[in-house]
Symmetry: D2
Subunit: 480 residues, 4 copies
Amino acid sequence: MNRDVYQEPLVSRYTSREMQELFSEKFKFTTWRRCWVALAEAQHELGLSLVTREMVDELKSHIEDVDFELAAKKEKEIRHDVMAHVYAYGKQCPRAEAIIHLGATSQFVVCNTDLIIQKKALGLVKTALVNVIANLASFARKYKEMATLGFTHYQPAQPTTVGKRNTLYIQDLLMDLEYIEMLEKQLKARGAKGTVGTQATFLELFGGDHARVRELDRLVSKKLGFDTVFPVTGQTYPRKLDMKTAETLAGIGASAHKFAVDMRLLSNLKVQEEPFAKKQVGSSAMAYKRNPMRSERMTGLARKLMGLPANFAATAANQWFERTLDDSAIRRMDMAQAFLLTDAILKLYVNITSDMVVYPKQIEKYLRTELPFMATEKILMACVERGKSRQEMHEVIREHSVAAGLAVKEEGRDNDLLDRLAADERIPFDREELSGLLGNYQEFTGRATEQTEEYLDEVVQPVLEKYREMIGQVDSSLKV
Amino acid sequence: MNRDVYQEPLVSRYTSREMQELFSEKFKFTTWRRCWVALAEAQHELGLSLVTREMVDELKSHIEDVDFELAAKKEKEIRHDVMAHVYAYGKQCPRAEAIIHLGATSQFVVCNTDLIIQKKALGLVKTALVNVIANLASFARKYKEMATLGFTHYQPAQPTTVGKRNTLYIQDLLMDLEYIEMLEKQLKARGAKGTVGTQATFLELFGGDHARVRELDRLVSKKLGFDTVFPVTGQTYPRKLDMKTAETLAGIGASAHKFAVDMRLLSNLKVQEEPFAKKQVGSSAMAYKRNPMRSERMTGLARKLMGLPANFAATAANQWFERTLDDSAIRRMDMAQAFLLTDAILKLYVNITSDMVVYPKQIEKYLRTELPFMATEKILMACVERGKSRQEMHEVIREHSVAAGLAVKEEGRDNDLLDRLAADERIPFDREELSGLLGNYQEFTGRATEQTEEYLDEVVQPVLEKYREMIGQVDSSLKV
Amino acid sequence: MNRDVYQEPLVSRYTSREMQELFSEKFKFTTWRRCWVALAEAQHELGLSLVTREMVDELKSHIEDVDFELAAKKEKEIRHDVMAHVYAYGKQCPRAEAIIHLGATSQFVVCNTDLIIQKKALGLVKTALVNVIANLASFARKYKEMATLGFTHYQPAQPTTVGKRNTLYIQDLLMDLEYIEMLEKQLKARGAKGTVGTQATFLELFGGDHARVRELDRLVSKKLGFDTVFPVTGQTYPRKLDMKTAETLAGIGASAHKFAVDMRLLSNLKVQEEPFAKKQVGSSAMAYKRNPMRSERMTGLARKLMGLPANFAATAANQWFERTLDDSAIRRMDMAQAFLLTDAILKLYVNITSDMVVYPKQIEKYLRTELPFMATEKILMACVERGKSRQEMHEVIREHSVAAGLAVKEEGRDNDLLDRLAADERIPFDREELSGLLGNYQEFTGRATEQTEEYLDEVVQPVLEKYREMIGQVDSSLKV
Amino acid sequence: MNRDVYQEPLVSRYTSREMQELFSEKFKFTTWRRCWVALAEAQHELGLSLVTREMVDELKSHIEDVDFELAAKKEKEIRHDVMAHVYAYGKQCPRAEAIIHLGATSQFVVCNTDLIIQKKALGLVKTALVNVIANLASFARKYKEMATLGFTHYQPAQPTTVGKRNTLYIQDLLMDLEYIEMLEKQLKARGAKGTVGTQATFLELFGGDHARVRELDRLVSKKLGFDTVFPVTGQTYPRKLDMKTAETLAGIGASAHKFAVDMRLLSNLKVQEEPFAKKQVGSSAMAYKRNPMRSERMTGLARKLMGLPANFAATAANQWFERTLDDSAIRRMDMAQAFLLTDAILKLYVNITSDMVVYPKQIEKYLRTELPFMATEKILMACVERGKSRQEMHEVIREHSVAAGLAVKEEGRDNDLLDRLAADERIPFDREELSGLLGNYQEFTGRATEQTEEYLDEVVQPVLEKYREMIGQVDSSLKV
């Protein structure tokens, strides 16, 4: 690590080695060579006599040993990275030199390589995502019955269960997964299209044979691992695709952010916590703190990720005609950042959900405090069943609830709501009947347990089954 | 129109009446009533004795005649819009008063209504989008063979055809259409879930009968026109869906923006123009101008539309637990704006593409000027075929091209590139041979014509066929 | 209110009448007339014989009585709003008809009017902002000594005081106020510059007299209420200014958002609340809730406001040459929205801060619970003073703190940290000495009280003094 | 350069060494040590006996020789970077070990260091900005008289001068400079404030002496190079400041973006170009092209820069109470990116403006073509002077202009507007008189030349004078 100049923290601190490598120069430039090999081989196979099997073989034998220094030197001179690498490749392949990049434009290697990288990166993202879902599903099943206070407006509401709450995080992530699958369908090869997408030079090379040129496009793409190829392009593949890619990843960011913020609130409530490393220091000054640092980090990383789609939208929207280069520098940064951020977030998400801590005693404490308040809806319903007007009862109960709530806050007293209600003659129940209506807080969770079961069985399990080979394939250990 | 206070320009200037109505108070509040009817009817059908057929019928007979003033007055008093409308509905339905909204929480009507509005609005968007695609497809087919200068870096590149260029706009829009179809699958009912999504009150009402409560959720949703219902929710449907909705619409914005900017550049080049109304004034001071005002307007509207998804992402990401109300005011504005902007943009897009003007003479003028430059790649290929090194020839041609280009710019002279090349002995062709290589500019368009045909026949036509009943169903006349 | 089509909620629900009127058609078009009067009068005063005093007087007598219908009809015909209003003005002023808008371009009225609106709107914003600061200053002074738990990572940290915490909100708002003052300096007139900013037509009119044309620019601006005028412009004033305006307002959004989120957390903690109207309904199903709805609304409105600067940046960055019209529709919406949102937010902020409720008993409860933990830093310091290594003591205390914390969470027990420390021989204090170190929680607030006093006296008071005439000038009653 | 993993392109490709170093680990961690030295020294000077002069001297002697490996190893263990560096510093300074960081919280070093870095980085930005302004001012002065076609709607409008157009870019940048100066005033030290900003631990250390603790804050800040210190803080300096910093830098992005887009359009028009390196390759396939690659790159970099303020706004708006850590990872990336992007943009901007190429013959060609059109406003004015109605003449001229314009586009004919006007009897001039009205295009530039002179002399020159020592201090050579 070079400490003299700025280093990308996503690499030095937060992401997986696999993702870092996909966006490395090494992977990029060897993939360029793979593109040149695919092109030459397809040209050869489609009968272009200029390109011989020997040339193709020579090219194949020099895919990995890129002479980076030579290419960099040449680029400095001619200010053109692709031509610089054509030059360096040619130096290693004297026989094939003249036919490297034959008929192609820079974007032949650049776009196809970008798409290959994105496809692989999306695979890593999908794997991590599936693992988060698997973790949350286990957690939700384990705690499907445990009643806990629900919150709306971050004010106590009816109870739900710990498991049920976690199905909501899963539901968000399953939507992300569906959009990943959708994106996989959109990710096509850019193929062999030429300078402005007309394949003019290839048509020239193939003596005007449209069928062979069309086949070249398909064959090159297939050799590069794509089932489909964009039927039409300008110089590059449509930048609109990048926008969709960024949105798909940002969707994961939003899901993770919501979860992380909830974790941070739960942590304050002391009812649920992220795993805490044994030697971890809470803060330099306050040794006792158990700060939800991973969730806080996830929040920040997700915020950045959610900020990226707008850039890609602007680039797509501002490409002029067959292509302008205002896409280059920004995509170079933002595409890498989008995937690296997603990688970092999912690594954290797997890490946290692998071992979340729940404190049942604390959960119970909150439920006990709010129980009389929670019962108000049940009481309201019972009053309506006894023929009272919903409106009127709502008002009566509201008044007493507010008064009881104030007593707690202002005087630190216990909740005396039931006494107040029993003393009001408009309420058609006495104190004992009211107590009877309360029951225990488990009764207030409605169908939360059943919903959790149904959801896990009917919706989540089939997905986990489909991707079962991915489960357990993520290293979620953290560097810092 | 009230001229004393600010009026939303989207309504007063840019959008269709249909879209404006979907986001009106009238549509919202009558739909709330439809939700209450669906709930009561489903409760009745599932055997809840509290709710009688008479009550349901009474409710049904007062769907359209909302007493807005009464509701507004009540809301001012109690600061709660749903309870205010329950009150106003109850005043008109004395028999059903006690069972309106029975077991429900505000979000029962608010969320389901929002989803109904979005579904209908998405339908309008889809119709308009299909019409733009149909227009562009006709245009592309008509001009599939007309050679025109391609541009990369907004510098002359190889020629393409007018039709081919327009397939790229279509391809962007087809991606938007696919994402609309995807979104339609995501748009499920929120159903009857209760305060925090546990259906607790409904379970109470139905005496603990899980099967009937589960069926209530499905049945209410079906009555409201939904095939599917979110299996789990907090208080509201997942705000993540809104993010996807906004992204889907913003995608249309990006596609339209790219087209509009190209139109504005074409307009400067005097090769293609948007339709121009006969009495339209170019500018107050410069009467002769034909400003591409609709494309400029589209650009601005699309810019705003593309700015909205970030808001929805932030809202989804910051919802705490079962729901917080920081979503309310912003969604009230942004969901309407997103659809209204899309409506305005597509209305313009249909309008412009209905009657775009092409100036073939101008197109030819540009091609003629650039022809010798355009031929350089062909010459380069020919040199390579004669056994020359691609690198060296590239350099030689580059030098002469730059010199010829400079002569044009600096001295206003004609393009003398071929003379320069012929005079260079490294080039293995004489002047005559070089001229022979040039041919006409049609030859430089490669497979542009064929690509256009293939694309329209194989990709676009099936889609237009699928949605053929939508074609012609858009009023694209403009107010201003 | 028209319930048949979408209505802007900012107008129907959230903003002040004054702000709504500034962005009305009425204010806009009468201001256009003021611009035309200023131009004609300045032309007359500078000796342009074409323009007579009678004409100017005629124009002056028809500033308020705009014939909106006639102008709208004309606009529909010629698609040009300024020319339509020139026409309508001319119909009312037959004598002056020929000289209305003489030598001007549309942006003469459009830009100058926009700047006048923004200046006045900024005045309303400033007034509201000063009132929030005044409210917070009173509140901070009142509670300057009241100890309360500080939070970092939303975990209990050292105590601060209620007043001190509120100085941080004030400090944010004072930064906003400084940027408003900065913006006021940037807000110059666009003046009389002509089509592309060269004043060519005016120079023609004045027979080539540069001095008089330069003076025309200044004189018109002065008549419109501006001390300064942009020295150079294209067709419009620089769109960069709009970006700064939006950023300045968004700054207020960010400040308000931070405050509002804190309020929502405080509300959950039951230690501080926004004022609650007597008849306000917490929720339709949960009558007892005291939801922090205004703070939640502020959060959402602020989120939207913070999303707007990016639009203005994009518009400024994408203006081509002397001007393109992609700024028109988007500014029409976004400039109004930016000011209306700010108005709505500050109205809420004034409303909430006028009467915030504090619950001292609850505050104490939290302090008591955390007191032993809070003392750890004090104990750490005392250990260091006794010659122990900071590192080692930090580690020892950390271990016991974590254990004590776990006991609370897992077993619901009281905090036994001091017992644990006293029992550890590495700690150079016994149980009694440790208790002695604790003291009361007031002692842990450091300089919070003094900082609050100093800050209010030295920094805030001078500002409030400077703007004292604004205090009390805001109607913060809410419609919904 | 590590080619195996992702490398930040801003560092490897676009930015100055100076800026890269400011955001390096080396600069950060040595500055942390400077903060610790400043604290210890101030404590010593204010009479804290625990801290001796020897300790301070020992600390001073180990500022530069940070043992990065040891600190990294410790951080991995305890997951806390500041404590890890305290540990590593302590190992090198055994005598001072116990008093390093005495009474401080992590943010003491982190925040103060961040502010120091930002201050220095802002200095680099300012220097580069001043140099761009100086370049543009020279260019504007040189071309102050050269008439060129003005554009509105990117349609030919009245002429302006090349110099005048460039004053608009300068005006944007001067606004940026004013906001930099404003920001410099806002950039205060965070000082010595303690965990939650109350200085509690320092007050403890100084035995309750408020005056000395207040002085400690000031003195430490002064030693770190700050004239002012934030009077109140939570744990960190206000994140709102970061928002302002990002906005200030994004302002430069917007200014540069507008310039760059204009350059790209000018380049298409072949009237103005960025400097072109002799060996630069236009494209791999089209050797003759002179692509405006630097302006395109500037566009993309600026787009990214303009996307960053929203992140900072969200972070500022979502900080809970005295501080949450969701600011950490995102600021680590975004603050560096904001400054590095600005550095890259300004480097390009200096580079391009150092040697822009103008093609007068091309400029003339465009003017000649549009001259008759341009004269329409002059003709309109002359008609009005002859007593004709502005409205009517506008209409007449509009009709003929549109017809003449169509003839050019549709038939490739010359502009016959004057003939058409002369033949219309409503026009009170014959052909000869109309020709006389035309004059040469210089006459149509109004006050453009004079405005340019006045602006440069009165507004720009004083600023350049003020910052004259900065001029020439930027290395604008490019790596790629």
